[in-house]
Amino acid sequence: MKTALKLLVLLLVPALAGLLWLAWPDLREAPVEQSRAAPAGAAQIERGAYLARAGNCVACHTQAGQAPYAGGRPIGTPFGEVFSTNLTPDPETGLGSWTPGEFWRAMHHGRSRDGRLLYPAFPYTSYTRVSRQDSDAIFAYLQSLAPVQAPRREPALRFPYNTQFALRAWRALYFRPGEYRQDTQRTPEWNRGAYLVEGLGHCNACHTARNALGGIELDRNYGGGPIPSLGWEAPPLAPAGLMSDAQAAEMVELLQAGTSRHGVATGPMAEVVLHSLQHLQTTDLAAMVSYIRSLPPAAGAPAPRRPRVSEARRQELMRQGETVYREHCADCHGDRGQGRDYVYPALAGNRMLTGASAGNAIRSVLMGGYGPSTATHPQPHGMPSFAQRLTPEEIAAVLTYARGSWGNQATAVSPVEVERR
């Protein structure tokens, strides 16, 4: 009897502790306020429109070819698919019956109107830094849109990831709600940049590697890593070493125009420039870059596992690659990988090309692509697809050559890696 009691206590205590750990965030959460919004003024709506762009809400909450902000876009995760929601003020399927307090709770605590926990595909881990005032402005803007009826699409997640219990555990591990706090040791510009990068910009949604549970690992902050289910890899947010003033100015240029003197925004970053960054004021972009260049060096993603290429094989690929490069690449990218200013990106010193994984480079050669059409650069030039014109062997060779020439010192690429894409 006594042993049974002991056993019960032994089991009960950790169980209770676990429950308390899971429920603790809820206990600390202030009750949602239900008051309706005071009628929004034009200035608040305009500010909200700007902030919604800074948060790039439209990209995820719009299905290609459909009404903006009406949701329904599938968002792939390693745990299954979720669908973005309708942010237009339709009373039944959108945010029509929401209050500013409920909207702020979604942004700050990641909870829906009915109290359900939201999936962190909605980046509330970043949006929690957004101030109440800014959240209210975004809400006022969204309420000013024309309502669109677009029913919610149920997520298609695997068990147990589709349960509220799993979300509760995930949040206890990886989510700390809290508004951005000014660092008084730093300049107002730096603080503005940090607020945008850490909050609405949600840069770490892609530029920080995630662990097996999809949690953002803060010791790897902004070190880059694979973007699950997009087939792209985010480079580290800042280049290794100190960023020069010229590099910082070029980064502002790239974020604003999508094309800079030496680079082009490609893949998911082109989408971010198209919908979000090109619309921000230059002072805000400069503030973001001033924060980014102050970041400590990050650990980055764990080194990807790649097929080994022997030294003799590497030299063979280099020789073959030089021939392929002369025939297919040099016309645009230059005989020394210098590119053509504002037209074709330089390959010498190109971070997309020389990453630890060659994934982005392989994808660009196979699929080609154009940079984004922006106000400052409406007609960007493009890269052709070589999938039908070069063999995997030739693509591996030319990438080995470009990754290992003109000062570039990245590893060789094996044809096996090209075939796997």
Partner: protein, 229 residues
């Protein structure tokens, strides 16, 4: 003397040549669509026709609809989607205009199919099948199948494989036109055998010397097509 006379002409001739070459490279669109040329060929005259069709001389409105269609997911092709994903309507319109004003190349005619197959294809193309309310291809694409400005494409100068792939894509729902999608309706009611016959007949037709698509007059189509304004 004769030689000297010729020499006087030479600089002028050289200058004229240089001028022409300069004008060709000076068209900024030619450089901007270089990425397209990788598959669709110089000025949209493809060398790998069955995979990437020639696009030179197709109606501007039709080309624009295909470009926005790939971008917005009405048509699906991984390379085309990634290529165009971040481009504006204005830019795509300029690209469409550029290719619509290029001169198409004449395709060598592919080997002929069996006479019975060609006869079946010709009947469907020219007369359709009234019993099944299947309109003739020629009723919309023009009596000589050269298409009509601004939105109905010509069907000549395309390989049978390419035409088959498009009808197949409509049937299986991977290619869409704006609703009502008349081509999806038609393709869905054709048998595989009929598609083979139709495409064999069309591909056996030679592109005439004057091949510009005519401008469509205000007359109703035999079937509702959302893609045709």
């Amino acid at each position: 003397m004769k030689n000297r006379h010729r020499a006087r002409w030479l600089p002028a001739l050289l200058l004229a040549c240089a001028g022409a070459a300069g004008a060709a490279t000076a068209d900024p669109m030619a450089e901007r669509v270089r990425a397209c040329a990788g598959c669709h060929g110089e000025e949209g005259r493809s060398a790998i026709e069955s995979y990437a069709p020639s696009i030179a001389g197709k109606p501007e409105g039709y080309l624009l609809q295909q470009l926005t269609g790939f971008r917005d997911g009405r048509r699906s092709h991984a390379v085309m989607q990634q290529m165009l994903a971040w481009l504006s309507d204005d830019y795509l319109r300029d690209m469409a205009r550029y290719y619509s004003t290029r001169e198409p190349a004449k395709l060598p005619r592919p080997p002929q199919a069996a006479p019975a197959v060609l006869a079946q294809g010709r009947r469907l193309v020219e007369q359709g099948d009234a019993a099944r309310k299947l309109p003739a291809c020629a009723a919309c694409h023009g009596q000589s199948l050269l298409g009509l400005q601004p939105a109905i494409p010509g069907l000549l100068n395309l390989r049978a494989e390419y035409l088959q792939a498009q009808l197949g894509a409509w049937r299986s729902g991977t290619r869409h036109a704006p609703a009502p999608d008349c081509m999806a309706d038609i393709a869905g009611r054709l048998s595989g055998e009929e598609i083979a016959a139709i495409t064999a007949w069309i591909a056996s037709r030679e592109l005439p010397r004057d091949h510009r698509p005519a401008v469509r007059r205000e007359q109703p189509l035999p079937i509702d097509c959302g893609g045709v304004p």
